[in-house]
């Protein structure tokens, strides 16, 4: 069982905002972005866009999608699916859990499958 990382309080990330957990904390070798989506839930993707170098945490959150701030590729926050050009590769998801007021991130554990 992989131990989650406590990444702080749910109040640290406003709805429509995101926070970057740097690679030295995630242990995966990559930065992970944790998003507070407009459905009220928290989701995590690898921070770097799969198209070119860009931080998805800097992107625009609309509903449960994030739009890359540079070339406007969109990803599903729930499944990581690349939704439009210029991205062709899905983003990697990581499981996020809310425990009381705390946000727990499970690096390298894919988000649980959700209904579309």
């Amino acid at each position: 069982m992989i131990n989650p990382i406590n990444i702080g309080s749910i109040d640290d990330i406003d709805e429509g905002e995101a926070k970057v957990i740097p690679s030295d904390e995630t242990g995966t070798g990559e930065d992970i972005a944790v998003f507070h989506a407009e459905d009220g839930n928290f989701y995590a993707l690898n921070d770097n866009c799969t198209h070119e170098t860009a931080s998805l945490a800097d992107g625009w959150i609309e509903g449960t999608e994030v739009e890359c701030p540079i070339h406007a590729a969109k990803f599903c926050l729930k499944k990581g699916t690349a939704l439009c050009m210029p991205a062709t590769q899905d983003a990697r998801t990581h499981k996020v859990e809310v425990s009381g007021n705390d946000l727990l991130l499970y690096p390298n554990v894919p988000a649980e499958p959700v209904e579309a």
Binding site: A54, W60, P69, I70, H71
Partner: protein, 450 residues
């Protein structure tokens, strides 16, 4: 208020061994086209394509040009797109809350980078190939960057930045000359006249939403010159509006129509005129009733309240003008020798209650918006000057700017050289400076000394 500072961006416009042939920049000596002492202007300065091109180089590429109002930028990423001369410009607030201005053209193949008039963003991304620039103008992303030569340096390919961006009491100006005299020095005595509009409220001013934009036939100088120097046209051009605004419906009383006043003209080409008759007021009633004139007298001085705070006119050289009476601030963007585009904002004092701001806004757009009862008659004059200017004989007959020749003096009350209200003094000063700048090489013409 946000900071505006000078920047030396690492972006480099002169890459490689590129240079332009001299034939592109043949300059015309305009000294015989402007007789600012005798009050004569040759009509060719409004029509000649070569003079217009020289203005782009020697007037617009080296003067302080109005960009926007500070209240248009609240958060990093807020932006507004405009022009400096014919150059497209993005004005934005960077992450340090500094206002910066860039050429709105992608460094790669030159597409207009930002096509929105205003908004909020995190990056400016070109929709052609995807070169993407951050709020500091740095080139952040180049798709397929690995295919470029090894010496390709993204730092050199950042947005071309306007090196000098400064603000005066809420008004942001930019200058392509990094060694230009500071904005405040350049304004000089003009600041006193501007303060009568910009500094009534300790909290300063703000603009209400939206910029009214319209086009008309007419060289940009016709409008800029009129706002600098021309109270003379009011009683004739605006007769219908004056009649409608007066309580009797028959127009203002004789002493108002023939009001005394002063007109300021600066050696840097700025100009402002204003009546000094205490009843010569045409502001909206709620605005008039809102002001505490005693407090204003203390803040600005009696002369400012009795003069430039009333219904006057003004131009900051070359193409920014304003009307203190209704907070109309506007730019006359040049669009070829025969055409201009007017961009007009509604300026109000920050501390005004909402209903007073609204009265100012309505009065502004009903009098000097594109449907305004004053504006329409001004536009008709300018377009009717331009429409007939190309005839050979017509173009050869000089225009008259002789009213009040020799009347310029320091009157001991108003700063700088002033003349009567009814005078062409500020017009002569405007064209004197125009002519001097047109005949003086600008920063981009200075050759490097080996």
């Amino acid at each position: 208020m946000s900071d505006c500072t000078s920047h030396t961006s690492e972006a480099n416009a002169s890459i490689g061994r590129m240079s332009r042939p001299e034939a592109f920049t043949q300059n015309i000596d305009v000294s015989t086209l402007v007789d600012s002492d005798g009050g004569l202007i040759d009509r060719s300065i409004y029509t000649e394509t070569s003079i217009y091109a020289q203005e782009q180089r020697r007037i617009f590429a080296r003067s302080w040009l109005f960009l926007a109002h500070t209240s248009q930028f609240k958060k990093p990423g807020d932006f507004f797109t405009t022009f400096m001369g014919e150059d497209p410009i993005i004005v934005t607030m960077d992450k340090t809350k500094t206002i910066r201005a860039y050429l709105n053209s992608c460094r790669h193949r030159g597409v207009r980078l930002c096509r929105a008039d205003a908004g909020a963003t995190k990056m400016f991304t070109c929709t052609y190939h995807g070169w993407s620039f951050d709020l500091a103008g740095a080139l952040q992303s180049v798709p397929n960057e690995k295919a470029y030569p090894e010496d390709f340096d993204r730092k050199q390919w950042g947005l071309i930045e306007v090196p000098n961006v400064q603000s005066y009491k809420g008004l942001i100006f930019g200058n392509w000359d990094k060694d230009a005299q500071s904005l405040e020095e350049n304004l000089g005595d003009m600041r006193y006249y501007m303060d009568a509009m910009l500094d009534r409220d300790p909290e300063g001013t703000e603009v209400m939403g939206g910029v009214m934009k319209w086009t008309l036939e007419g060289n940009w100088k016709l409008a800029a010159e009129q706002f600098a120097t021309d109270w003379y046209h009011v009683n004739m051009s605006h007769a219908s509006a004056l009649m409608v605004l007066s309580p009797t419906g028959r127009g203002p009383k004789a002493e108002i129509a023939a009001t005394p006043g002063r007109q300021f003209g600066s050696e840097n080409g700025h100009g402002a005129g204003f009546p000094t008759h205490p009843k010569s007021r045409f502001d909206a009633r709620p605005v008039h009733e809102y002001y505490d004139y005693e407090a204003l007298r203390e803040r600005l001085g009696d002369a400012a309240v009795e003069g430039p705070m009333t219904t006057g006119h003004a131009t900051v050289f070359p193409n920014f003008s304003y009307l203190p009476v209704n907070g109309s601030i506007r730019v006359w963007h040049p669009k070829g020798p025969d055409k201009m585009e007017v961009w007009a904002w509604v300026l109000v004092d920050k501390s005004m209650p909402d209903e007073v701001k609204d009265a100012q806004r309505l009065y502004n757009l009903r009098t000097f918006g594109p449907s305004g009862i004053f504006e329409a008659d001004d536009g008709e004059n300018w377009s009717e000057i331009q429409a007939i200017s190309h005839g050979f004989v017509t173009n050869n007959v000089p225009l008259n700017f002789q009213m009040g020749i020799g009347s310029e003096r320091n009157d001991g009350t108003y700063p700088g050289q002033t003349s009567e209200l009814y005078s062409d003094a500020a017009g002569r000063a405007f064209y004197r400076h125009w002519s001097k700048q047109m005949n003086t090489p600008a920063w981009h013409e200075r050759t490097e000394q080996a």
